[in-house]
């Protein structure tokens, strides 16, 4: 109850400050829109289906891209974790590649795939693949050895060993990496969409700039934040809670 109160106070203050600054008209309204203009832009955007379409297109892309990242990243991470040669060579490369913003792949992607959906997907995959791979590698190493041994002992091998033992055993150790991978995928997607006419949320955001409509820009920014937050807070938090209950670990802070 106290926590709810703190939230209410904080957001009321933030909202009040915004309203006040807008009311004072220090900047012209088209540069610094008031909260209600943003709310109006949101309403209109949903009314004429622009936002619905943009959300659907963007979500579809991020799910495909992130899905590919997770599958590839798990295979790669498992390979790196279980092979000394790969660990020594590719492990270092992966870490150094992580310092590269994924949008740097954009020029290459354009030339390789052309101006289309695949180029965007490529950037999304490159954005999240590394976090997933590193998380999987780390998770595989942190996972107690005994699970693999017990699994093999009970007759699991090959794919069955991976699917029924190694994957569920490493989940608590990779879930934060998966979450980070999702955040990177989402950011890479929006960045890539902003650079190319593409129907997604990124493009709608840029459209607001082209029309000098800051209320639309802020509205889309809020949407991007909201979707990122919901996936993080609902999907991943739920997954973490589920794992903690099953494993009997202390709840995540």
């Amino acid at each position: 109850m106290k926590r709810a109160l703190r939230y209410i106070i904080f957001y009321t203050a933030l909202f009040g400050l915004w309203t006040l600054l807008a009311k004072l008209k220090i900047w012209p309204p088209y540069l610094f829109p008031a909260p209600w203009t943003v709310a109006e832009a949101l309403y209109n955007g949903f009314q004429d289906h622009t936002y619905w379409i943009a959300i659907r297109v963007s979500m579809q892309r991020v799910l495909i891209g992130y899905g590919i990242s997770v599958v590839l990243g798990m295979i790669l991470g498992l390979g790196v974790a279980s092979n000394k040669f790969l660990e020594e060579t590719m492990g270092g490369l992966l870490v150094s590649l992580q310092s590269l913003p994924s949008i740097c792949w954009w020029p290459l992607a354009l030339l390789w795939f052309g101006l289309n959906q695949n180029a965007i997907l490529f950037v999304v995959i490159m954005g999240s693949l590394l976090s997933v791979t590193l998380a999987m590698e780390d998770g595989r190493k942190q996972m107690p050895k005994i699970f693999g041994q017990a699994g093999r002992n009970l007759g699991a091998k090959g794919f069955k060993l991976f699917w029924y033992v190694l994957l569920p055993a490493s989940l608590p150790f990779i879930v934060s990496g998966l979450k980070q991978g999702w955040a990177f995928a989402w950011r890479s997607l929006i960045t890539a969409e902003m650079l190319y006419l593409s129907l997604g949320l990124g493009q709608v955001l840029m459209m607001g700039r082209d029309l000098n409509d800051m209320s639309a820009v802020i509205a889309v920014m809020l949407l991007i934040i909201a979707i990122g937050y919901i996936v993080d807070g609902v999907v991943f938090k739920g997954m973490e809670r589920h794992l903690h209950n099953k494993w009997g670990l202390a709840p995540a802070a």
Binding site: K145, F147, Q149, A150, R152, N153, L154, G155
Partner: protein, 313 residues
């Protein structure tokens, strides 16, 4: 030479004074039985000249197991004792097929061991149960891997959970159980794959004394009900004498078989039986030398002289 479990013979098989005595067998003794009619060895598990060496982090080769020769009869309850670092756990891992020996051969039913198989199930000291599965799903796991159909699995899960008195906990998760209950689930999980040989790696070492007593009784009962062959590793000599038909003592690094002690006490036994204490004393006297060597090595190196189970990799 009948050291059968069920032979009820009230006698002290191991005289305490003087040592050594005719009742004691010293050194590696082969106990393989020749079956005259079929003409082959009837031992369930046969180890011949097992050696295991591995490279330590500093690059030197360390001999962990040195020419282990051991025959285990079908239905026998064999206990292996030794100081920490003697490679007794590693030996179980080799029989389980989780690691490969450097030389020598392990035969189970006359066939060489090549990798893990559900005819030999290992029960770990820290149980190795899967925390993401319920108790029932854990017990079911080995059967699922074997491809046994669902209705049969369900039936067997119920049967084996009843056997370890945990039928009510089928839907619980592992972390909700006490240490003793976890170890009983591990036993049920192992039995559910219907292995011929149960390999137990200090399964009760982490439990409190009362729980351990109960589990000793329960294990003895399950063993006599199911007729499995059990190879039980422990550092607790009393436990070994209380449970085993035979106790094998390993030396400290390299692990060699130092002595074998047949235990011909009537069952059911109890840790408090004076006969058990008496027999344990004889084993302890020999073990003490090895423990001292183990401790000495510990003081010298400043490190715990243990051989990790994964050392051979």
């Amino acid at each position: 030479m009948s050291t059968n479990a069920q032979t009820v013979r009230r006698q002290y098989p191991i005289p305490v004074e003087p040592l050594p005595s005719p009742g004691l067998k010293r050194g590696p003794v082969s106990v393989g039985h020749f079956d005259g009619e079929r003409g082959h060895i009837t031992s369930k598990v046969g180890l011949s000249d097992i050696c295991l060496s591995y490279r330590t982090r500093t690059g030197e080769r360390l001999l962990a197991l040195d020419h282990i020769n051991l025959q285990v009869r079908a239905g026998e309850f064999l206990c292996i004792v030794g100081p920490s670092g003697c490679g007794k756990s590693t030996l179980l891992h080799l029989i389980a097929g989780l690691h490969a020996q450097s030389s020598g051969q392990i035969l189970v039913d006359g066939k060489p061991v090549q990798g893990p198989g559900t005819d030999r199930i290992l029960i770990f000291q820290d149980h190795g149960l899967f925390p993401w599965l319920t108790v029932g799903e854990n017990v079911e796991f080995g059967m699922k891997m074997k491809g046994i159909c669902k209705s049969e699995r369900k039936e067997k899960v119920e049967h084996y959970l009843r056997l370890v008195h945990l039928a009510k906990f089928e839907k619980s998760y592992i972390h909700q159980l006490s240490g003793g209950m976890r170890q009983r689930v591990a036993i049920a999980r192992a039995l559910a794959t219907e292995p011929d040989v149960l390999l137990m790696d200090e399964p009760f070492a982490a439990l409190d004394a009362q729980t351990r007593d109960l589990l000793h009784d329960e294990l003895e009962r399950i063993w006599s009900e199911t007729g499995r062959t059990i190879i039980f590793v422990t550092h607790n000599v009393r436990e070994a004498v209380r449970l085993g038909d035979r106790v094998v003592l390993l030396t400290f690094r390299p692990g060699r078989i130092k002595s074998e002690f047949p235990v011909e006490l009537p069952r059911p036994r109890s840790l408090e039986d004076p006969e058990v204490a008496l027999a344990a004393r004889a084993v302890l006297d020999e073990l003490r030398e090895e423990t001292n060597r183990s401790l000495e090595a510990e003081y010298k190196s400043g490190l715990k002289p243990s051989i990790p189970p994964g050392a051979s990799e």
